[in-house]
Amino acid sequence: MWVLLVLVVLVGLWMVSAYNGLISLKNQTANAFKQIDVQLKRRHDLIPNLVNAVKGAMDFEKSTLEAVIQARNQAVKVNASGAEGIKQISQAENALSGALSRLLVTVERYPQLKATGNIGQLQEELTSTENRIAFSRQLYNDTATQYNTKQQQFPTTLVAGLAHAEHTDLWEIEDQAERAVPQVDLTRR
């Protein structure tokens, strides 16, 4: 009799802690997703400034600039949520990332551009913005993976229904160039 009671209490305690762990991970995942939004918004706000700053100096690379502006406007327009939303947003944002990295490459190609005005500073801002987005995506993917693993693993999976835990989509990298391994150059300063 007593053994049974102790067993029930133990199982109850375990359920509470497993449930709370899942809820905490769920909220962390949601929060990490919001963090990506914040960083994307920051990038959208930065791009007009960037384009204005380089417009005068880069008459000759009109198409690169226009691609950036277009991709930015496209990305701002996307306003969806849910699993489908993640796909749409990530598609638009990946296109923008591609356009921006082409712009960065272009700026690299003209050293005299970097010397003029505050382009170097803008370059730093742009690099940082791209990094922020990449890192917020990474945090989201890490947290979501942890959440997904937890709710599938036995025995936590038994309380997954109770906590309304659902499989969360990861933020996929669609751009092949981004997927490639970056070259690590240790000699560079």
């Binding site: 962390q28 990490a32 963090q35 960083q39 170097g120 500073q121 730093e124 801002e125 690099t127 940082s128 990094n131 922020r132 890192f135 917020s136 990474q138 945090l139 890490d142 947290t143 942890q146 997927r179 490639a180 391994v181 690590v184 240790l186 560079r188 300063r189």
Partner: protein, 330 residues
């Protein structure tokens, strides 16, 4: 890649527990210094009320509280660091950005950033918890590191923040300072010699017990600063490896941190601005002690930092494993 993720909560819990034990140990030690003195006096037939013990215990309690509250401030102040609020130069702007980025990667609130006016490359983190944390780097570090390497170093410091290493380490640094101060003050008072004078007075139960007590008590006083410094060492070299691994997890670029550590090691002049009391907080031992670079039992116990070559080779191991994995999947 080894994921330190599962370790995180254990590590935080362990650090909370160690902090509590440190506080308890510190207060008990001072209570012993005080009540032990009272007891010796009582054995010699002096007043029975434990004034000294109560005073010492209260002082220790207030001291710990004060050390905990003002610890980060004091540590930063002792290095002469100034807060980076409005970045002016390119290097400062980059530092502010890198800290923002790594805080995002680590999923912690943005720490406050400080710059230490010293040409030797080094960095440390301090603070109470995730919401109140500080990262300080020297000018020398900004000068020799490129963006990726700086990311690695800041990632390492944020690893300490996320682990709550900062809480334990900062309290320890503050206590080391407090004990050194108290020792100096008390040493002067004891120079008047209350226990030494006791010998001239014949008391009823004087004997081996009293003698041992007096010796023990005196030894405690003399050894107090040493004990506290041993505590600083006992917090272990392991947490540097863990912070390195966490940095690799945040940046996904362990080779950059390895390169940064190699550069820091190459410039092995001691970091003048960072004093002995805060040495265990730093990414590289600022005192440039030779013990740090040796292996074995003695070094494991008496050096605050693991050998740089070991840290670098572990990071490189992670880096190559990652490259290999990526190479296979494409």
């Amino acid at each position: 890649m080894t994921s330190p993720d599962g370790n995180l909560f254990q590590q935080q819990e362990a650090n909370r527990r160690r902090t509590t034990w440190l506080v308890i140990g510190f207060v008990l030690f001072f209570a012993w210094l005080g009540f032990g003195g009272d007891y010796i006096w009582a054995l010699e037939g002096h007043h029975p009320f434990p004034w000294l013990g109560l005073a010492m215990a209260t002082m220790a309690l207030i001291g710990v509280r004060y050390a905990f509250k003002t610890g980060p401030e004091k540590v930063l102040w002792s290095t002469g660091a100034t807060e980076l609020i409005d970045p002016q130069t390119d290097a400062e702007r980059q530092l502010a950005n890198v800290v923002d980025e790594m805080a995002i990667a680590a999923g912690v609130p943005r720490p406050r950033v400080w710059i230490i006016p010293d040409d030797d490359p080094n960095a440390f983190a301090t603070g109470h918890d995730l919401r109140d944390s500080h990262i300080a780097v020297t000018r020398g570090l900004l000068a020799i590191c490129n963006r990726d390497e700086l990311q690695g170093v800041i990632g390492h410091e944020l690893g300490h923040v996320k682990n709550l290493d900062i809480r334990l380490m900062t309290l320890l640094a503050a206590l080391v300072g407090a004990v050194l101060l108290a020792r100096d003050g008390m040493g002067r008072m004891m120079g008047g010699g209350m226990p030494t004078r006791g010998g001239s007075r014949k008391s009823k139960n004087a004997g081996p017990l009293l003698a041992t007590l007096i010796v023990l008590w005196l030894l405690s006083w003399i050894l107090a600063p040493l004990v506290i410094q041993l505590l600083a060492l006992a917090v272990g070299r392991g947490r540097e490896y863990l912070a390195d691994a966490m940095s690799a997890q945040f940046t996904r670029n362990p080779l950059a941190l390895a390169a940064a550590l190699a550069k820091i090691e190459a410039a092995d002049a001691p970091t003048q601005a960072i004093k002995r009391g805060a040495a265990h907080l730093c990414i590289a031992d600022p005192l440039g002690r030779r013990l740090t670079n040796s292996e074995g039992w003695l070094a494991d116990r008496f050096a605050t930092h693991p050998p740089m070559s070991m840290r670098i080779s572990r990071l490189k191991g992670m880096g190559y494993a990652e490259l290999k994995k990526a190479g296979q999947s494409t």
